[in-house]
Amino acid sequence: MTVPVYLDYAATAPVDPRVLQAMAEVLGACYGNPSATHDQGMAARACLESARAQVAGLIRAPAAAIVFTSGATESNNLAILGAARANGDRGRHLISVRTEHRAVLDPLAQLVREGFKVTLLDTDRLGRIDAQQVLAAVQNDTILVSIMAVNNETGVLQDIRSVATAISGRGILLHVDAAQAAGRISLDVAQMGVDLMSLSAHKIHGPPGVGALYVRREPRPTLRPLLFGGGQEFGVRPGTLPVHQIVGMGCAFQIAADEGAVEMRKLSALRDRLWQELQVIPRIHLNGHPTERAPHILNVSFEGIDGESLQLAVSPLAVASGSACSAASGEPSYVLRALGRQDALAAASLRFSLGRMTSEHDIQVAAQCVITAVLRLRELAPQ
């Protein structure tokens, strides 16, 4: 069997060799608990702080605004549960969007169990919301709006800046899940007007198991921690800091800052090429907005075939049929359904996601494999 073509970078992107190198160096040498005051502890702390500056740099934030976590799932939980629980006396209402990641929707559901109210906005058929919709949903006691920058299934962008402008001056916190955005589109927290932003390392060739939450400095939103004990990370996130992981994240973010612009052009060209090649298949549909989307994701629905059979037929490709997170459940993607796709069509969809190691050859192999699979399954089906 040949090595399968990997087009599932949005689920997790293999670690860049330079990141691996940086991590191995830390693991091999700069040991020490960064809270300790002896030399090794101080060396560990120096590594930590330079990584903090690298992560901050990609979103143009001050280093002191970065809190390290175990990943964007934890960052989203800390932002949403943490801000709501700390501000519950000021208000009990939150606003988000139906197409958010589970790591946003599930903490919101938990808040509902804790007595908060949540409004989930519908997107249009292209996966977008507009700022006026958000404004219209604002209530007297709205405390937080959470909107993702780039959707993980479709790549659709939301216009965060216009949302920030629309709701500004009301003391409402704006949280952005940027797990799929960092390194894929340019981000500037101050210019965007964001209070809290979730970041993940492993989506851009850093290690899994480490992420960060940007917490604006002035004014600084108060957050109730999720974990207690130890006082690390400004008291917001205790636990011995995994310096190698954080250094890996810093390195990945530095590479994205240095090479991101070139890489984005490359990925969007490859993505367009794939879409072009798939055009020989009739009755296919692009999911999401045709232009307002990140360069690394292409999501396509195929009429007239069964989703599970499609997935099996393209198994030489590592692609997702919906978010990796909902893959296990076997349910058709709720994101695609929110865009108006019927269940069966939503199920017969593939998310191709590209990354640093994706080649033209990968794209050709993938296109050929999908074309063959879809045409064969259609041939098998009653006309």
């Binding site: 059979s309 099996l312 296990a328 459940s329 098998l380």
Partner: protein
């Protein structure tokens, strides 16, 4: 985490789908079955003679197990008496290691066969 990988037999049946197709010749009868939730759709073609099944073809839009069960049934039907058809979809599904929550859609195959057989009998 949940769905087990397919058995080698299911994989082989899915890839080859033996006897799949649309007969063009005269003398065949057909029946259909559909399940709207998953959009499963089966059309079954039978060629009968002397109260027996002489040949079988089928068309399927469905999951790998639906295709595999259809292929097994098609194979086993050839030679059977139309009056006493043996169509144990559930038994075949379990032979093939299929997740039993899928039974609902698998009965679509039975629907299609029974409709075709009904035409054959009448």
């Amino acid at each position: 985490m949940s769905s087990p990988p397919y058995t080698a037999e299911v994989l082989a049946l899915f890839e080859r789908a033996p006897r799949a197709g649309r007969p063009q010749a005269a003398g065949w009868v057909s029946g259909e079955g559909q399940e709207p939730l998953t959009a499963t759709h089966v059309r079954w073609h039978l060629l009968g003679a002397n109260g027996h099944i002489m040949d079988v073809r089928y068309e399927v839009r469905g999951c790998p197990h639906t295709i595999a069960v259809a292929a097994v049934l098609a194979q086993r039907m050839v030679g059977q008496s139309v009056a006493e058809l043996k169509l144990d979809v559930a038994a075949i599904a379990s032979e093939l290691g299929c997740d039993m929550t899928k039974l609902g859609r698998l009965f679509v195959i039975e629907d299609a066969i029974l409709r075709a057989a009904h035409i054959l009998r009448s």
